[in-house]
Symmetry: none
Subunit: 213 residues, 4 copies
Amino acid sequence: MKQNAITAEAKTQRRADFLASARRLFIQRQALPAVADIAQDTGLAKGTVYRYFQSKEQIFLALLAEDFTGLFSALEPLITQLPQPLSEAAEPFAQRYLNLLQQSPTLLPLLALLNAVLEQNLPQQQLLAFKQQLANALDTLGARLAACFSELSPASASQLLLHSYALTLGLYQCTHLPTAVQTLVQQAGMMQLQRDFATELTAALKASWRGFS
Amino acid sequence: MKQNAITAEAKTQRRADFLASARRLFIQRQALPAVADIAQDTGLAKGTVYRYFQSKEQIFLALLAEDFTGLFSALEPLITQLPQPLSEAAEPFAQRYLNLLQQSPTLLPLLALLNAVLEQNLPQQQLLAFKQQLANALDTLGARLAACFSELSPASASQLLLHSYALTLGLYQCTHLPTAVQTLVQQAGMMQLQRDFATELTAALKASWRGFS
Amino acid sequence: MKQNAITAEAKTQRRADFLASARRLFIQRQALPAVADIAQDTGLAKGTVYRYFQSKEQIFLALLAEDFTGLFSALEPLITQLPQPLSEAAEPFAQRYLNLLQQSPTLLPLLALLNAVLEQNLPQQQLLAFKQQLANALDTLGARLAACFSELSPASASQLLLHSYALTLGLYQCTHLPTAVQTLVQQAGMMQLQRDFATELTAALKASWRGFS
Amino acid sequence: MKQNAITAEAKTQRRADFLASARRLFIQRQALPAVADIAQDTGLAKGTVYRYFQSKEQIFLALLAEDFTGLFSALEPLITQLPQPLSEAAEPFAQRYLNLLQQSPTLLPLLALLNAVLEQNLPQQQLLAFKQQLANALDTLGARLAACFSELSPASASQLLLHSYALTLGLYQCTHLPTAVQTLVQQAGMMQLQRDFATELTAALKASWRGFS
DNA sequence: GATGAATGAGAGTTCATTCAT
DNA sequence: AATGAATGAACTCTCATTCAT
């Protein structure tokens, strides 16, 4: 039996340990790991997981929330340092944004699962709360963006961000292939068909931002 | 026991029957129906499904292929009748495109599942073939588009369509909520947070197409 | 894989096999066996059990129904052959009745569980249906009894049977001890405290029937 | 953290608190509450429960003992005030007895659980001790009863009481339906099948006592 | 070609109890 | 004495797929 997590910090740590295990296994397997596996990876018992999370889905929702929090807090300073005007800002933004996305390798895969799997087994209230927080975060970020670019109202800045977000998610899903399939592509020399996520996202954001003003 | 399907047409028909049932049930339940249910809905036995499809996932991949075929064949004539220049073409395109999407109520939900669920249990070859076909179709359509708009090369036209497609998929997932949760939203008076798919897609396509040229 | 049960008889047989295993294990362990154990005992797979029963509880409800059917059908002829008057009938009835109960060693233990455990996890409709059937069977039997004893109306005969049934169930629970505890009783020489089910039920039925008229 | 219970009285009080919570929750839910819930209701921790009781089952056995103590001590004076002869005593006894039972709403539900659930996880010694106490109490009460009614020997008075007790337990289980199912019964208009506990017990006791002498 | 009975791995969750603090 | 974090066995049920008929 591992040492009891008694202090608030120890509990936070333990929760974080579970999340870290869940994240590691999710990356490793490219699929939602079983609760038992998360527990084992953490070195604790299955039942203990349920002291920290109400359900398996909550674990991954929490992971997603972590990813979003990280992304948004990194995005905030980034957004205020973009060159004027908006059409010139897209490219530097895209580069730094792509960098951030690479640091959150679970964000987009989890997001794809959210709408397909997690949402089926998550209490409606929690799904809603999550989506609301996301919307709020986008609005907040939109307000920041609007403050920097006189050509943008807060509402239209939020909208621009929503579209950028949609583009990210959509392009990820279009361009992404399971690792095993990627190997196949290379063997068959079908590389030309394979679009590159970074290239496409950069181009798409540029067009989107340029056309938006 | 239904009569054996011996002729090639009879087999094609039977396959189509399974697909129709799968589609109907998928719409009805907003989730992948069980194979047993598809069989029952068709009036045939569970084992029979496996004479026409290698796995459950293949059924829904076939459904997706049907949807795409329909969409692309409707898109082709549409694309040649757009007003010049490209920036003026986005809005009328968006309207007709949205119309087409409404006629394929399974397309976007299935697409969202493709990258999250279906791809897990699909033979790599088939997944790849499907994605390749999709890419080819986009290229073909891009060539048509480029033929109409002198400002677009075939390559950039394909790219524009890819981005439009990504935008569609991404915005669908951002704005979509399970029916049950939508009810909750209305009760709680949180409507203002809820974005409308059609509105956003129109706006996003306009900006994207305008900025692209 | 065991041979498929295709004909109706084969299915009935298979269902009976599961019930037999369930009964055997229940007697053996004096507690509800797990579904997995029933399946194993039958030599079939866990999932197969659920082709024949909707839930674990249904299995034991079915067992109880079997026991009751057997008991009531044996009781019917018995009841018409009792000596007159009612007060003289109780003793011979008790003896034969006890005989029947001994042949259904699961009846009373299952009945004790019905009101404590099964009823918690059984769909309300089914629990109700079962209790109704039981009540009907008692009424039918009451009618037979009334036909033989002029001093009894059908209603009072049913009531008499209800009381006899209650007495059976209650005395069983008062006098019954788990096998392990019985051993303890004998070792400690506390036999005098231990009431005998058969003795008490006979005495109680005699008093009850005598006083009823 | 509540103050430590150091004095013997404080400990007794704490034990009583747990019992009171257990009783309240059992009545509320019509099912055995979880240990965690009992602790929470008492305002103490889960582990603390195990300083006062060896197991969950012991809690409810103690509750049952309380109920029996209360019942028997109320029964004792009652029994000496019954009219002569025995056949005339049954009805007034039944009425007062039913009154007492109503004041112990946990007695019969717990008793039904005793033989089905509790006894599984109770140390054999304790189960035996409990049953012995109960038998002794019945004997004591039987002696009182015999002192009042010249037609009863102490042994036969005990037996009469045992039968009355069995009748109570059995009729309770026959007539009792979970609250949810009762609603169903009323909706379906199947009231005629539903027997009333008080009516039946009164009738059964009358017959039993009348026929006993 | 059609059937549908059989399969059985697999998963999430609960909760009585223990024991380090 | 009190705590409450950790435990982990136990359990039911689903459903895609197989294959004997």
